[in-house]
Symmetry: C2
Subunit: 230 residues, 2 copies
DNA sequence: CATTAATCGGAGGATTTTCTTCCACTTACT
DNA sequence: AGTAAGTGGAAGAAAATCCTCCGATTAATG
């Protein structure tokens, strides 16, 4: 017993089921915070995570502890996908687009702003993860600027904010799944803009929704008149 | 008492103060529904409209009546700005962009999806306004396609959905005002995309936020290191 | 400027939602 | 197989929200 240290100081490793539940709670909390805001009901989070409310309270003594876990998880995912994009993409612009898509998937940009004011970002694990994510992201942007493939006027703030807009699920009874497919399509749209490209049409993934589609849509998933997304 | 008819059946025109309150309630309700969803507290709406809760209940017998008023107002604004864009813009693409900016201002695309499932859109005033708005918008898009200035792949659904994403206030304690200025900037960004234009850099209005700006930001309005928006 | 009918606004009881604790039962690990 | 760790939900407490009612206020009219 000398392994207790650093951040989450558990003497014994969590039991397998506890670990699984912990994970599910953080994921569910992320989604519920995104949908309902920082005051979301903890009951709903437990329900969504398929655990009893008692389990949630045992693992996270209060709302703020849960929030910190969600934020930390999101920041770590973000840092990781930014670093991976930097390492693996063939050029800076592709690093940027692949980072955008990866970030969408993790709903990072959707949940962080919701919890920003509830969590102290300047200490401990969270500050470290934040800095790691921010600098990797900045590196992507700087590289794309240097490469000449990203407009100079487009700043870190623009990328971050657009990511927030794109990550949030659409309001109303649109299925989460469709909402996410559309988000990927809209990243493509943002990347190339609304005007035709001189070089010719670039593909945009995801469902092409007409006015009628939109109306019929509502809850049930669209029957996608176009190719797959991304 | 035989004059009751049609939609809004008022015998006497509302008193001046009543009319003003009615208006303020609809505007406040729009904003609160956007921020808190369809279950938002009516108390909060009254508070935001600066009227007593009693006044709200007198004017709108229940939540659904209020919702219908909000939706109708939004659809009428939308129809009007689409028609104005069609009439006044020098070309179809400018009609589109000016429609996007106008729509943003009215938060139309932010509130409609929130209330879609709560309100019967297929009857009365609302259906009429909806059709008027939809057809004017479709006309803009068709014209831009015909003009060759809007990518063929971009559909009604894309425009509508992006408008939803752009209209919603950013989550967290970002001021509404800043959120809206950024939205206009991001319309510009969407229009031309992230890549440099061969024809040279186009202006993007609104605040250019760096990473540090974003952090410092939070509630207080940004001190805008760039030119005015739009 | 006085009259009056319409309108306003919030106090407060009823109701619903959410929080949080506690403990008998279940499960993973040795 | 034994046991410490973990689970889930019932239930009382606390908080938020709904909605009505009525005394005070105000716009319109002569």
């Amino acid at each position: 017993m000398m392994a207790a240290s650093a951040s989450s100081d558990r003497i014994r490793p969590l039991r397998a089921d506890a670990r699984r539940n912990h994970r599910q709670i953080v994921l569910a909390a992320r989604d519920v915070f995104v949908e309902r805001g920082p005051g979301a009901s903890l009951d709903e989070i437990a329900r969504r995570a398929k655990v009893g409310i008692g389990t949630l309270y045992r693992r996270f003594t209060d709302r703020n502890v849960l929030m910190r876990a969600v934020v930390l998880d999101a920041l770590e995912r973000s840092a990781e996908s930014a670093e991976r994009a930097n390492d693996e993409a063939p050029n800076a612009f592709e690093a940027l687009t692949s980072y955008l898509h990866a970030n969408l998937e993790d709903r990072v940009a959707a949940v962080i702003p919701v919890l920003l004011d509830q969590v102290d970002m300047d200490r401990g694990d969270i500050a470290a993860a934040r800095d790691r994510a921010a600098s990797a992201t900045q590196r992507i942007i700087d590289a794309a600027h240097a490469e000449g493939t990203l407009r100079e006027q487009v700043t870190f703030g623009d990328i971050g904010t657009m990511l927030v807009r794109l990550s949030r699920p659409l309001p109303g009874d649109i299925s989460l799944e469709l909402s996410e497919r559309l988000a990927h399509r809209h990243v493509d749209l943002l990347v190339d803009g609304l005007r035709p490209r001189p070089a010719g049409e670039l593909p945009i993934g995801g469902p092409r929704l007409s006015l009628e589609d939109l109306r019929r849509l509502r809850d049930r998933a669209a029957d996608e008149p176009d190719g797959g997304s991304r």
